[in-house]
Assembly symmetry: C2
Homo-oligomer: 489 residues x 2
């Protein structure tokens, strides 16, 4: 998962006012985006039809959680991340893992397995070091932020200005900041609110003449690990090095600065930006019995990761459940009317590049091609249910589908969705989509850090998430109607 900021920028809120396109039978029971939950008017025949899928859902759950597939998703994820490690955009490891997944999808019997090109940024972390040199010597573990520039060779030695917020920084005069390293130490106020210091700290500090910026890692809890993530420079600002340091060190520096101490840091970073690189989205299908390349149900997660940890959580889990949902449905002989397409996005972490390329390539015929988008990118802990983004008519149908997830104790429903950065390329324009709600309260403890490993993933929870994914995708893909979408022309 990149940032909720991206979601906001991409306009996650559904464009309900857009001219609508209803397909199939949905117009039979009318639409009213302003209606509440209670006002859903799904025709009883459709409600009954959806209820009729309960035995199939039960079978899917039983096979994946307690049957022959139990534990296999965790094993496959472990083999992927143990074999290739971290999979940063532009890296050989990501491309090797794409080749590997393609081969494995074929071995699993998935259909139309292929890749589609997507240009991605190519940024490489080099040697990185930050040393507190005064008032005492201390190594400051750090992680440069994606797209950051490096320091000159030999690094920068500069005094520190430390602030808790942009508001506090605003009170400083440029002569207080010029030539300094600015340390931003925001309190954690949730990811969406706090991440702006990571994504915009360098630009804000640069405008007053700072030579570098170090930011408190964007996490509510720390055991001494820095967390990386994306950042970008505003147009026209002098590009300065930008990295996250640990919560512990950032808070220490702020206390010392506020006591009036002179704090000096030696910062050296050899991070570099290269020309964009052509990576690939990885695609496999379970082709529908009735529709093949139209009204497709997409299940997805991203295969790329940050270059620290091994990306088992972000987003190995989401990628694996999308891939394996198809593997297990196929093995069970369950083939729905519409095609279910697993897409393992590339280039998500550096800015949703895989999704963007796929959207552009499939733009011309997209209203016909796509029915529904699933994405899992906020953890694969124990599932709670599904959250949804889309028009009211689609929501009402989807609510009925979620009710089928009783055997997984995963019937919670929320709207709009809190996840789904890659599919926001579509959901932000009126296509319906859903994200996996799970017990991810600790997600940001591990996010973009060395802690993103198999230790975060639990075999049983991964089974449950895969079962939920497979069951929901199967039902949506097999219903007598397509899910209504309101997409402007």
């Amino acid at each position: 998962m990149k940032t909720r900021l991206n979601l906001a920028l991409l306009g996650l809120l559904v464009l309900r006012a857009s001219a609508g396109v209803l397909d199939n039978r949905v117009d039979q029971y009318g639409s009213d985006a302003a209606k509440g939950v209670d006002s859903c008017t799904v025709p009883d025949s459709l409600v009954q039809e959806i209820k009729g899928y309960q035995p199939i859902v039960n079978k899917i759950v039983s096979k994946i959680v307690g049957g022959e597939f139990a534990g296999k998703t965790w094993d496959s994820l472990a083999e992927l991340v143990d074999t290739f490690g971290a999979r940063l955009s532009g890296s050989e490891q990501l491309e090797k893992s794409i080749d590997y997944v393609q081969e494995q999808m074929k071995l699993d019997g998935l259909e139309n397995v292929h890749t589609e090109d997507a240009p991605v940024p190519h940024w490489v972390r080099g040697y990185e070091s930050a040393q507190l040199v005064a008032p005492f010597k201390k190594n400051l573990p750090l992680l440069g932020l994606g797209t950051t520039v490096g320091t000159p060779r030999g690094g920068i030695i500069a005094d520190v200005v430390a602030v808790e917020s942009f508001e506090e920084f605003e009170t400083l005069k440029p002569e207080q900041v010029k030539g300094k390293i600015v340390v931003f130490v925001p309190q954690w106020e949730g990811y969406g609110k706090t991440v702006v210091y990571r994504s915009k700290g360098a630009s804000v500090a640069s405008r007053k003449g700072a030579v570098a910026t170090l930011i408190r890692s964007v996490t509510p809890f720390s055991i001494g690990s820095p967390h990386t993530g994306g950042q970008d420079y505003d147009e026209g600002v002098n590009k300065i090095p930008s990295a996250c340091i640990t919560v512990e060190d950032a808070e220490m520096i702020l206390r010392k600065y506020r006591r009036g101490e002179t704090i000096t840091i030696h910062l050296e970073m050899d991070d570099r930006n290269f020309e964009p690189f052509v990576s690939r989205n990885t695609i496999g299908e379970l082709v529908g019995t009735t529709y093949t390349n139209s009204s497709v149900v997409v299940v997805s997660g991203h295969l790329d990761s940050w270059d620290v940890g091994v990306g088992a959580m972000d987003d190995g889990g989401g990628a694996l459940i999308s891939w394996k949902a198809l593997t297990y449905l196929k093995a069970m002989g369950l083939r729905p009317r519409r095609t279910i397409r697993a897409i393992l996005w590339t280039g998500e972490e550096l800015g949703l590049w895989g999704g963007k390329a796929y959207k552009d390539a499939h733009k011309e015929n997209e209203k016909k091609e796509f029915n529904f988008f699933f994405e899992s990118d906020i953890g694969t802990f124990e599932p709670r249910g599904l959250d949804f983004t889309g028009n009211k008519d689609a929501e009402c149908v989807f609510r009925e589908v979620v009710k089928l997830m009783t055997p997984l104790n995963a019937t919670q429903f929320e709207t709009p969705s809190d996840g789904g950065p890659d599919i926001s390329h579509w959901t932000s324009r009126g296509f319906p989509g859903a994200s996996l709600m799970n017990k991810n309260e600790k997600y940001f403890w591990f996010h973009h850090s060395a802690g993103d490993s198999m230790a975060v993933e639990d075999p049983k929870n991964l089974d449950k998430c895969t079962a939920l994914w497979a069951a929901a995708a199967y039902v949506i893909a097999d219903l007598s109607i397509s899910i209504p979408k309101y997409v402007s022309d």
Copy 2:
């Protein structure tokens, strides 16, 4: 805190069979080490006397937790660790912090403030790097273990043998191990049981010809940080480099090894052992009204720390509450009959050296000099009560004292003590002592890692621990009797 292994080695179990020495009035109510809780026969007059301290305990609690001293212990601890950082035995930072604490104790009005010499090991962490070089490249964060030797310049490149346990390692032939880096990946089974891999892994691996050993960090929970700690080489073994890697990386290596992959690591460590260094225990007193240098009540924690993190938890908190308990009692005008002596041990982490030197220096007259030993070295989270090591008579009296801690909701009692490594130099020989029980379930998450910082310490909890410490020490030091001890001659 060093290790529970040390506690065991030092014979924490009370030598109850030793010839006893009863002082003052304790023999009035008999002794029976075999008696259970219910069989305590503390004379009613003494029970009533102890109950009579409730108003003083209430006052101490109210001043420290809710009054003029609230929050001050956290502030002082922050100033200490922010100013000097980590305080490893043999380091300039430790000696500077000892000078600083002495000065501050004097400013606080403590009496007989001085230091006493203690020889400590002098081991220095140098450049440390571990790289997985095959099957893919990955940095493996690591921390060399205290007293480990380094590698030759340029490091070692060797294939890996990975095992989960010493039992599994026993099944390997020397020719399978010779020239290899042995990776021990024990499951967490509690600190006392699991730490043997850290303390003895190098010796075990060396005997079969390993060239180095890397051990899963000794912690139940990880976010990508390695944990250091002590180790020692058995007599006569070839000394090989020994370090801990993260839980995440250790488990990955074990999985890969079990799949039959060849794993190669480039390990470079420039850690070195130097001649022992003379450090100092730091001492301050609140001199008793009746007894000055006899029947002393010791409150203690260690001032040295590991060289990662800043030792706010291990054991800055224990050191500070011991020092500040005296500061606040003095400021409140509360001076008990016996002297309360705060001792901030040095050289604890590398083997309880401060306590040993102090024991040796005070040996001749120790039975007269000491009445009771408190030590806090297993966290200063929210206090639960006090645990105790000593003879049954002393235990019965102490149980009554613990009952006074109702205003802190800290009346739990356990015996024998689970903490107190430095005071085990005395408690293992029949002197009575106590350790601070606290809600330290997450202690080992941070222990000996970059996570040992002020972020672990909560101001309110530190206040409560200080109040508990001050109140318990005051009552013990002021009672009409000394606490009975059974120490052989």
